[in-house]
């Protein structure tokens, strides 16, 4: 079972609240025991690694010349309309900070001029999203800087989304020379020099030394002729180009590349933040995965393809490609997912461990790249668990300036500012469905989803013009002060939903209880009524309400009824109804390549097939329930109209009833495996599918099947045409393709993708 499955099932199990332990099961297991083992004491297993106990976390909070955070206006609570407290908006966004502080030069020797390279701002808007602003999006005012004059000077960095001022310092000694060390070892064909490849130290006139930041290092070279075997690279200070030195570097062919090392990955599949995590390591040609999505491992075999290094691992489809131009090691995605961009960890990178508090027992390891946690990593942790600290007492705050010099454990804490509870108090309405329902409910310092569910404790923290509400690990929502809405997020840039306050003056809650504790709370305008069924998800599902004692009367105040709720999904009716020659079919229009507007994953068509041929089709969706029967109005491509009835597992149309045929092609002559001249196989199966057979290295096989139809088929001879639904690897393109079937003697042949595949009937 994969990690994702285990996590999902674990969360489900937790919510189901089943208390079951192995101990009660163990007593009922009758495990045989070898007589010779009787009386032997159980071995003691030392489960604690001594090395763990010896690891002591050491991290140095870096003291830098006066960084001044973005100035904020204090907010305050004030009563809003109808007694609902409202918060005042702050003029500035909550955080404006320097991004990549490590690359910002803050100390200038007296013969250096100011440089704005590497400056970028990280800002957080009302929805909590962090944005990186650089280049033309920011303006740097260094007018106060006095080159060569000892002192501290403010530098202002501004943008449309906020500004900040940081200090730089000019010191007396001048830089007289540079000392460099080439960290990379060699360049391989296609790679270009980068400043981070070099460790550059500035040597001052008083003999002291200081590391140059990446942003102040300039590189130049005449040409990189890899046939020459080496080249000189000029290294200089951009702040004073006359201070320079030269380093000879090896230039090697790509065939000689050494990919050994530890690699990092910026996990960009998070709702907030993009944490830097361990990706994989390569040692003596052995690839070892460290990131959860990488399932391949083993001895690498490398080949050069179009100026890139292709890596394969025996027994795995997942491999990788190193692109020397970008120095990116792309690890293949699984099952059509995009590849993962990995990179060699920069010098000084260390692991930072975190034990989650809200999600007890969860452990994650992040990377401090070059010794620093990135803004994306801190955002990710902060969103889930609160601020990070170096100590368990939560006094030493971790930020982007905190330098980690060796593996370190950090601690999280989300402060609860309960003065904001009153702002959230009440019922919030989800308007995404056809009938609004009760969404979030805040009451007595707790939070629940709907009126009938258990309350969770929560912590509320003000962040700029929003409140961040955490009530569990990965369970975070945000209240936006400006719009007075609760926001939830589904994906990185996708808003999951917005919720408004209930309008108690004009709205009432219709509570429907069903089963022993089932409950739905509908929000109705006063004077409105609840229908007997609710069509959902564009007509692909329907809820049928049977409410005892309620006949659609107008609702003027909160009411509660009991009844039953039955849900049906159109996808349950996917399939063929009838025999293999004349049948109805409910199917995605994409499969048949039908030109329907607005079609997508959840759209369906009802098709009429006669003598194998598609004679008519109509889009289908649930439209109503009449006398307990779900119905759909059909408007066929031919212009004909009709009604489709869904009765249990049976369809009724045109006065005829048909049940689903699970094996539409069962017993047909054409079923079986077909082999090409080169030994490749395809299969036609009883499910009415055509599939490619691939043999795995473990001896097993995989059949990748597509839905299929017959045309002009003769069961006597097996001749005719198979039409199958072809889909591109990324799933975006789909079309119907033809495979003619012919017979010579006892040999049936299918022309699949232009290649003949045959099968003997003998």
């Amino acid at each position: 079972m994969k990690k994702e499955e285990r996590e999902f099932l674990g969360k489900f199990e937790k919510s189901a609240g089943i208390s079951h332990s192995f101990s009660e099961l163990r007593e009922r297991l009758e495990i045989p025991e070898s007589p010779r083992r009787k009386g032997v004491p159980w071995r003691l297993i030392l489960g604690v690694s001594l090395s763990l106990a010896l690891v002591l976390a050491i991290a140095i909070p870096l003291s830098l010349p006066g960084l001044i955070d973005g100035q904020l206006t204090n907010g305050s609570s004030s009563p809003g309309e109808e007694g609902v407290p409202r918060l005042e908006l702050w003029d500035d966004v909550e955080t404006v900070r320097l991004a990549n502080p490590k690359s910002v030069q803050r100390i200038y020797e007296s013969n250096l001029s100011f440089i704005g390279d590497g400056l970028a701002l990280s800002t957080q808007g009302p929805t909590g999203k962090t944005r990186l602003l650089s280049g033309e999006a920011i303006h740097v005012d260094s007018s106060a800087f006095r080159e060569g004059e000892e002192g501290a000077y403010p530098i202002e960095v501004s943008s449309d989304e906020g500004s900040l001022t940081y200090e730089v310092e000019v010191i007396v000694p001048e830089v007289v020379s540079l000392e460099t060390r080439f960290l990379k070892g060699a360049y391989y064909e296609g790679e270009r020099p980068e400043s981070s490849d070099f460790l550059v130290e500035k040597v001052r006139e008083d003999g002291s030394r200081a590391a140059a930041t990446d942003s102040e290092i300039g590189l130049s070279w005449d040409s990189l002729d890899f046939s020459q075997g080496s080249s000189d690279i000029e290294i200089f200070l951009k702040t004073n180009p006359s201070i320079r030195t030269s380093v000879s570097v090896d230039l090697l062919p790509l065939e000689e590349i050494d990919l050994a090392g530890e690699y990092a990955y910026i996990d960009d599949y998070c709702t907030f933040g993009q944490p830097a995590v361990e990706a994989f390591s390569i040692e003596e040609g052995y690839f070892e995965p460290l990131y959860t999505e990488f399932v391949c491992e083993g001895e690498m075999s490398l080949s050069i393809e179009e100026g890139k290094v292709r890596m394969k691992l025996p027994g795995y489809n997942q491999g990788g490609t190193y692109d020397p131009q970008t120095r990116t090691f792309w690890i293949d995605g699984i099952a059509g997912d995009p590849p993962f961009a990995c990179f060699l960890r920069p010098e000084g990178t260390v692991e930072v461990d975190l034990s989650f508090v809200l999600d007890e027992g969860r452990e994650e390891t992040f990377l401090a790249l070059g010794g620093y946690l990135t803004a994306g990593t801190l955002d990710y942790i902060k969103y889930l668990e609160g601020d990070c600290y170096l100590d368990e007492e939560h006094t030493l705050l971790v930020n982007e300036d905190t330098l980690f010099t060796e593996r370190t454990r950090i601690y999280c804490h989300a402060e609860d500012q309960d003065e904001y509870d009153a702002v959230l108090e009440g019922i919030w309405v989800d308007e995404s469905g056809s009938i609004p329902t009760v969404g979030w409910v805040f009451e007595d310092g707790g939070i629940s989803w709907g009126l009938g569910t258990a309350m969770h404790p929560m912590s509320v923290v003000r962040e700029g013009n929003s409140l961040l509400v955490r009530y569990g690990s990965f369970e975070v929502i945000r209240y936006d002060i400006a719009t007075d809405r609760i926001l939830t997020y589904q994906d990185e840039d996708l808003l999951g939903g917005t919720y408004r306050r209930i309008d108690r003056e004009n709205e009432a809650i219709f509570t429907l209880t069903y089963g022993m504790n089932g409950r739905d709370d509908y929000v109705l305008e006063k004077g409105g009524s609840l229908p007997s069924y609710i069509i959902e998800s564009g007509g692909t599902s329907i809820s049928i309400l049977q409410i005892e004692g309620y006949q659609g009367e107008a609702v003027w105040e909160d009411v509660s009824y009991s009844g039953t709720v039955g849900r049906r999904y159109l996808s349950d009716y996917w399939g063929r109804y009838g025999d293999y020659r004349d049948f109805w079919q409910i199917v995605s229009p994409r499969s048949l390549g039908l030109p329907l507007e607005g079609e997508g994953w959840s759209s369906y068509v009802f098709c009429l097939f006669e003598d194998y041929e598609l004679v008519d089709y109509a889009p289908v969706q649930f439209d109503r329930v009449d006398e307990g029967v779900v119905q759909a109005d059909l408007r066929f491509a031919s212009g004909k109209e009709g009604v489709l009835f869904f009765e249990g597992g049976v369809l009724r149309y045109g006065g005829e009833e048909r049940a689903e045929e699970r094996y539409p092609w069962e017993g047909l002559l054409i079923l079986g495996r077909y082999v090409s001249d080169s030994g490749e196989e395809i299969e036609v199966d009883k499910y009415a599918q055509l599939g490619e057979v691939s043999h795995r290295e473990d001896g097993g096989e995989t059949v990748s099947s597509s839905i299929a139809w017959l045309r002009g088929y003769d069961e006597e001879t097996g001749e005719g045409t198979i039409l199958y639904s072809w889909t591109s690897v990324d799933g975006r393109e789909q079309e119907l393709r033809e495979c003619p079937m012919t017979r010579e003697g006892d040999v049936l042949t299918i022309l699949y993708e232009g290649v003949p595949y045959s099968r003997s009937l003998a």
């Binding site: 079972m1 994702e4 499955e5 996590e7 999902f8 099932l9 674990g10 969360k11 489900f12 199990e13 919510s15 189901a16 089943i18 079951h20 192995f22 099961l25 163990r26 297991l29 495990i31 045989p32 070898s34 083992r37 159980w42 599949y269 709702t271 699984i334 099952a335 997912d337 009530y471 369970e475 975070v476 929502i477 939830t488 997020y489 589904q490 999951g496 939903g497 069903y514 089963g515 022993m516 504790n517 089932g518 998800s537 599902s541 709720v565 039955g566 049906r568 996808s571 349950d572 996917w574 399939g575 995605s588 994409r590 499969s591 599918q689 995989t702 099947s705 639904s725 889909t727 799933g731």
Partner: protein, 169 residues
């Protein structure tokens, strides 16, 4: 060596200590799956807890005939036991979609599933539910939806990842 083979081997050697620890591991790794399957069908906590025991005991007794991963066998066994129990009780439907979808025992689990549906969408959640809960394999799901098996797989794992990293709505 996989867990089932290791367990069989320990039993053959009558190494009780080893067999017990392996079975405990197998139980820990698969208990969530068994609970997920059983709660598709059953409304009472006691029923679920009883059938967890029965499912694992049945697995243990059938070990000589089982090869490969334990998950599919346990899921199928749990499903059969649940349906069998419901059939014995004539007043309950064996088909969960027709049954009343809630109980006091599992209200939070149902709320969790409602959340999961909103996070990944109805269609993708149905892939999770059909695969884990109903035991449909990916080729079967591909047949039902008219999609490539690879796409179904991709949607399945992407949806699980989304649930792992998503927040409650």
């Amino acid at each position: 060596m996989d867990l089932v083979r290791a367990l069989k081997s320990a039993l053959e050697r009558k190494d009780k200590e080893k067999a017990e620890s392996l079975f405990a591991r197998l139980y820990e790794e698969n208990r969530g799956l068994v609970i997920y399957v059983l709660t598709r069908y059953l409304r009472a906590r006691e029923d679920v807890e009883d059938l967890i025991n029965e499912t694992f005991l049945d697995f243990y007794r059938s070990l000589p005939t089982i090869d490969g991963k334990p998950g599919p066998y346990l899921a199928a066994s749990a499903r059969n036991k649940a349906i069998s129990l419901l059939r014995k009780r004539s007043h309950e439907s064996p088909y969960p979609e027709d049954a009343e979808p809630s109980s006091p025992d599992f209200a939070r689990a149902i709320a969790f599933e409602e959340w999961a549906r909103t996070v990944v969408g109805e269609e993708d959640y149905s892939i999770i539910s059909l695969h884990l809960g109903e035991g449909f394999d990916f080729p079967e799901l591909a047949r039902r939806t008219g999609r490539k098996e690879a796409e179904i797989k991709s949607r399945y794992y992407r949806a699980l990842r989304k649930l792992r990293k998503g927040e409650r709505e």
